[in-house]
C-alpha cells in the first residue's frame, strides 16, 4: 500500500498537475539553446565554430579575399588546455593541394594572430604551442595559389587558471646567455620525408604584462646546405615561451643538415644547424 494509492481524486489531480508542471520545467529550460542551435543556416559562410568574433576575424585577415570554411583544414589540440601558457596544437592543411601560406589565430586572444607559415618544401602542417588567454576558437587559414583562404579550427577551452607550473628556469643568467639557441633534430619519416623538431630559447613576451615590452621571435627561415629556402615561420607574441616547432619536410640526402636562421623583434639573430 503506497501513500498515493489512498489519495482522493482531487488530490491525485493536484499531484498529477504539479508533477506534470515540474516535469516540463527542465524541458523548457533546455529547449531554448537547442532551438537556437538548430536554426536554419543563414548562409554558406556561417561560422561552424559559432564564434561572435568571426566577422571581426574575417575583416581583419581576409577583407577583399575569398574565404571559405573547409573541414580539410585541421587544428589538432586538446579540447581543454591543461596549461594555458603551453597549449599544444598542430595545424594541418595537408589534405588541400597547393597550400602556399598558413596563418593561425585565436579569436579571443588579446593578440589574435599567432603565426604565419610558408611551408615551401614542407608539408603544410606545423606543430607548436600557443598561449591562450581564455577559451577560444583556434583557427588555421590556408591560402592556395588562386588566392582563396580555407579556414578550419577547433574550440579550445582554457580557463585562465588552468595552468600548471612550468619548469622553465628563465630569468637566470643562463637564459640570457642562451637566447635564440636552437636545439633541433631530424628524423627520417616512414613516408620517406624528414621530420624536423626544434626548440628555440626565447621568452616570447607578449608585451601585455606590466613593464615588460613585447619581445618575440619574428622570423625563422629553414634552408638546406646549398642555401635554398625550404620553409619560413613567422611567429608572433601568442606562441609559447621557448617555442618548439614540428615540421615534415621532403626527403633529404643522408647526412644532410639544415640551417636555421632568423631574428627576434629586437634584432637578436638566430643562426644554427640541425642534423639527424
Amino acid at each position: 500500500m503506497t501513500p498515493l494509492a489512498l489519495a482522493r481524486p482531487a488530490l491525485a489531480w493536484i499531484a498529477a498537475a504539479l508533477t506534470a508542471l515540474a516535469a516540463t520545467a527542465p524541458v523548457l529550460a533546455t529547449s531554448t539553446p537547442a532551438a537556437l542551435a538548430s536554426a536554419p543556416a543563414q548562409s554558406a559562410q556561417l561560422d561552424p565554430l559559432d564564434s561572435p568574433r568571426w566577422e571581426d576575424m574575417r575583416k581583419a585577415f581576409f577583407e577583399g579575399a575569398t574565404v571559405v570554411f573547409d573541414e580539410r583544414i585541421k587544428v589538432v589540440g586538446p579540447s581543454v588546455a591543461e596549461d594555458s601558457l603551453n597549449v599544444p596544437v598542430t595545424v594541418d592543411a595537408s589534405a588541400v593541394p597547393g597550400v602556399e601560406e598558413l596563418i593561425v589565430f585565436a579569436d579571443f586572444n588579446p593578440i589574435v594572430k599567432a603565426l604565419r607559415f610558408e611551408p615551401g618544401a614542407a608539408q603544410p602542417r606545423l606543430g607548436f604551442r600557443i598561449k591562450l588567454q581564455q577559451s577560444s576558437p583556434v583557427r588555421a587559414a590556408a591560402r592556395t595559389a588562386d588566392g582563396v583562404w580555407r579556414v578550419g579550427g577547433a574550440w579550445i577551452t582554457a580557463t585562465g587558471g588552468g595552468c600548471t607550473l612550468p619548469s622553465v628556469g628563465s630569468g637566470s643568467p643562463e637564459w640570457q646567455e642562451r637566447l635564440n639557441e636552437v636545439n633541433g633534430k631530424l628524423w627520417p619519416r616512414l613516408d620517406g620525408g624528414e621530420r624536423l623538431r626544434m626548440r628555440i630559447i626565447h621568452p616570447m613576451d607578449t608585451g601585455l604584462a606590466a613593464g615588460i615590452p613585447a619581445f618575440h621571435i619574428e622570423e625563422i627561415v629553414i634552408t638546406d646546405a646549398e642555401g635554398h629556402t625550404l620553409s619560413r615561420i613567422q611567429p608572433l607574441e601568442p606562441v609559447a615561451e621557448n617555442p618548439s616547432f614540428t615540421l615534415d619536410l621532403r626527403a633529404l640526402a643522408p647526412g644532410a643538415r639544415l640551417h636555421i636562421a632568423g631574428r627576434d623583434n629586437n634584432g637578436n639573430r638566430i643562426d644554427a644547424w640541425v642534423t639527424r
Binding site: T2, P3, L6, A7, L11, I14, A15, L18, L21, A22, A23, P26, V76, G77, P78, V80, E82, D83, S84, L85, N86, P88, V89, T90, G127, R129, T157, T159, G161, G162, C163, T164, L165, P166, S167, V168, S170, G171, Q176, L179, N183, G184, K185, W187, R197, R199, P203, A209, G211, I212, P213, F215, S244, T246, N266, N268, A272, W273, V274, T275
Partner: protein, 371 residues
Amino acid sequence: MRTASTPLRRTDAAKRPPAAGSGAGSAPARAPAGPIHRMARAGERMSVVVQRLSMPGRVLAILWTCLLLLAAPTHAETFDYRLQARELAPGAWVIVGLKEDFSFANGGNIVNTGFIVGREGVIVIDTGSSKRYGEQLLAAIRRVTPLPVVLVVNTHHHPDHFLGNQAFPRETLAALPDTLAAIRSEGEGFNANMYRLNGDWMRDTEVVVPTRALAVGRQRIGGRDVELLALGGHTIADLVVVDHDSGTVYAADLVFHGRTPTTPHADIPLWLAALDTLERLPTRLWVPGHGEPTPDTRALRQTRDYLGWLAQTIRSGAESGQDMTDLFQTPIPQRFAGMALAKEEFRRSVVHLFPAAEQSVLEAQRTPTPK
C-alpha cells in the same frame, strides 16, 4: 629597447597566472545534476516519512511532497557531501571520494580522507576540498568518537587535501616543510581555481597554512603507534601515515586505485622510488589518495604499472620525433581501460611531462656544428 647583450627580463611571478593544479588535475566546470534526477531523490526521502503519518497527516504530507518536487532541496543545494566514514580496521577510518574530476555536481568530493582514533585522541589525514568538506568531515568524526582531534595532517599541497583546514583547530594542523611552503605559494591560486570548478560548494573557503612542520618517524600520537614517512614524486613532498596498530597505510596520492594518477607536479622516477619504499612496509591495508582501499598492494602495483607505462610512452615519443599532439593519439593499453579518466589524465600528463622529455632529447644534440 632590449639589446642582445642585456635582454630585459620579467620575473616569472609577474607573468604567470596562478597554477591550477589540483589533486585530480583541473577540469572544465560541468553543469549540476538535472532537475529530474533531483526530484526523484527528494521523493524517495519523503515517502519514508509519509508512511508513518495518520490520514490527514498523509494528505498534508503528500501536498508537501508535491511542493517539494517543485523546489526540492538537493544535496547540491544543501551542500551535503554525504560523507560516510568506513572503519577498515579497529580505529582506522576512511571516507572514500568519487572517482571523478572536480565539478559543480560533486563539489570536490573526489578525494579520500581518513582518521585514526587512538585511546586519547584522533589523527586526521587530509581535510578535503572545501570549508564545508572539512566541517562535514569533523561531523563524521564526531559521529564516531568524542575524543579530541590532536593532529591534522595535509599529505601534500593539492587543494583537495588541505582546503578543509578551516574546520580544525589551528594548532592541530601540520604538514611536511616543503608542503607548507607550497601551500603558502600556490594555495591562493588553487583556491580560486576550486571556486571556479566546484562553484558554491566552496563558499567561505580560505587557505589556512598549517603552522607546524611535521617530524617524521615512528611515534605515539593520540595513544596510537603511528609512523610518518616523508616521500615525494607525486608532488615535491608526499606524506604517508602508517598506523601500525591496525596495519593500515594511508598512502595519499602516491597511490591511486581505479582512478588514473594525476601528474601536475610529478617527478616520475622519484614517485616510483617512493612506491618501492612503500611496498616494503609491513602493512595489511592500503588507503589510496583516490579510489577504493585494498587489503593488499594491488593499488600500489596498478599505480606503478601505469606510471611506468606513462614515462616510457612519453620518453619514446620524444625520442622518435613525436610532438604532443601525436602522443595524444596513443591508445591506452587495455589493462588501464578500467581506470577512471584514463584518456583525460593521459593527455594532461603529456602536457605536464612531455616538455622535459623533449628538451632532453633535443639538447642531446647540443654539440657545436660547423657553420
